[in-house]
Symmetry: C2
Subunit: 332 residues, 2 copies
């Protein structure tokens, strides 16, 4: 671990010595100030990088008026959807030399207000707001750049980076149609969730007359997947494909089909949504599903925040998911 120790202890005098310049010149080169030749500035930067010199972030913060720190607020206790968003955002932000202050509000307004005051007092340069739901939330009220990731703001003037649920669902529907399936059902989550409705709409718009019944709304669970197979056995016994709104639902669908003597994908092709490994890979058979690309979503949000902090512009955007093909539609 001696390399790290060297990094921690490196002083600007070491950088100046290695670059063969005075301490004043080294300081100007690293701070981007003063009149220096480009070659000199580069030599100092190379020396700093070689020695792992990072300067005193606190001093830099005071001189620049920036803290090179952003807050990240989640209502989700870092759940399954938030984690990849955080990772992607952290990726983009640390490439911009920003450190991330973690704030978990646990869906508590008082806690959120406390964190916003604390972030303001610490002078963070900006905030990313995320959560577990794709349903819009009220904006936070702070006087610094803010980007919403996954969970959009209700204010359309805000910058919100969201997932294109309908496009993902259209992808799996087209895949199932391309396999020649004719009698297709859609089984998804609760109708009060924007993502459930958009996933149903995205699939329905592609399936048209091949839809055997209106989309079945229920809950985000394996149990609902099993129940939905029983419902379809009465409503549409000749169904040959089931497009599901989540991997959990799809796993339940596969289990009940197998237990009732129908093969997947031989008799019925099944698709999921999320590409959540513990469900999609543990399912029998493993699930064809939709990769949400949440890490990419977080990266786009981080880049948007960096642009705003630097005084530039950023626009709301949606990230398109991708199709992952496995045995639940194409056999082993």
């Amino acid at each position: 671990m001696s390399a790290e120790r060297t990094g921690v202890q490196t002083r600007i005098t070491d950088v100046a010595a290695l670059a063969g310049v005075s301490i004043g010149t080294a300081s100007k080169a690293l701070n981007g100030t003063g009149q220096l030749r480009d070659s000199t500035r580069q030599r100092v930067k190379d020396a700093a990088e070689k020695l792992g010199f990072v300067g005193d972030a606190r001093a830099r913060a005071l001189s620049s008026g920036r803290t090179y720190t952003v807050g990240m607020i989640t209502t989700d206790s870092f759940g399954r959807f938030t984690i990849p968003v955080l990772l992607g955002a952290e990726d983009a932000l640390s490439a911009g030399q920003m450190a991330v202050l973690l704030c978990d509000t646990r869906d508590d307004h008082v806690r959120e207000a406390h964190y916003l005051r604390s972030l303001a007092a610490r002078g963070v340069d900006g905030v990313i707001v995320t959560g577990r739901s794709a349903d819009a939330r009220l904006p936070i009220d702070v006087s610094m750049p803010v980007v919403y990731a996954f969970t959009p703001s209700t204010d359309e003037a805000d910058v919100s980076i969201t997932l294109d649920d309908a496009a993902g669902s259209a992808l799996v529907a087209r895949h199932v149609r391309s396999l020649g399936r004719q009698r297709i059902a859609v089984v998804t989550g609760p109708e009060r969730h924007r993502s459930a409705v958009r996933r149903a709409d995205g699939a329905s718009s592609v399936l048209g007359s091949h839809l055997v019944a209106p989309p079945l709304f229920g809950e985000w669970s394996e149990r609902w997947g099993r129940q939905a197979v029983d419902v379809l056995a009465r409503q549409a016994p000749d169904v040959d494909a089931i497009v599901c709104g989540s991997d959990q639902i799809a796993r339940g669908v596969c289990d009940r089909l197998r237990e009732s003597g129908r093969s997947v994908p031989g008799d019925v092709a099944v698709t999921g949504f999320d590409d959540w490994d513990v469900m999609a890979l543990a399912s029998r058979p493993p699930l064809t599903t939709v990769d949400l690309r949440l890490e990419e979503l977080g990266r786009v949000a981080g880049q948007a925040l960096l642009a705003l902090i630097d005084g530039g512009m950023a626009a709301s955007a949606s990230v398109a998911p991708t199709l992952v093909i496995r045995e639940s539609t194409v056999g082993a």
Copy 2:
């Protein structure tokens, strides 16, 4: 959201006015300096709290030599085990007015070294190190207080807060024995993992002669649970309870027992380990299992770090898990 806005904009002049004191007196009262009556100090603090005044953390940091910021390093990309540890630690630290800087090393030594330099440059007051494995790791080399959480340090002089795997496993073994089961098998993860071995040892020490075979080591998966049932069908067809090293293994065990015509818990009682809701509750039947109390573990680690930062002492400790009883051992 106007309450938050008020909080953000509150100045010390507002606090002084509400408390009916001079700005200098308000400042001394809040910083704990100067000669003031206790009642005056309390009046200022009450006013500050009422107005949501938090002061300028940067100014406070410079005057105290502390940044009221700690780094949290994980190798786990905030996986299933790390998340609750982080939540618990954040709980303890924010109660101590500390903000948490998030650093995800993604199991990359270069990235870890970069983060350690960045944390040192930012002058954090301490670091919590965590990860996804209960196997010990090499210590980090920094000159500030460090506490290891879940993943211990190989250096016994370091402060490591760990999970008592053997105690958790002994709990489920005693529960299964208390139900009168006589022919009991242990199925767990890979033998190279400390947690797999300790869980097997903890159960074996309680089960003694009721163990039908040496513990079966495999992998942390549902598939291994299903395979293990087939192995036991040959080795010990009269097994009446299976103590599993994880909820995933236990879920696979339940599935294969049901598919081979044996009832759970009627013919065979089954226990898991982790209390991971998507496995333990989705299992048919839901699993009797062990709650790891990782949030408590994180809280203990956060408190230990606060003690070290304040110049006090902290000792390594292990957190005892608890038993959660569901239908896989006691029927519906």
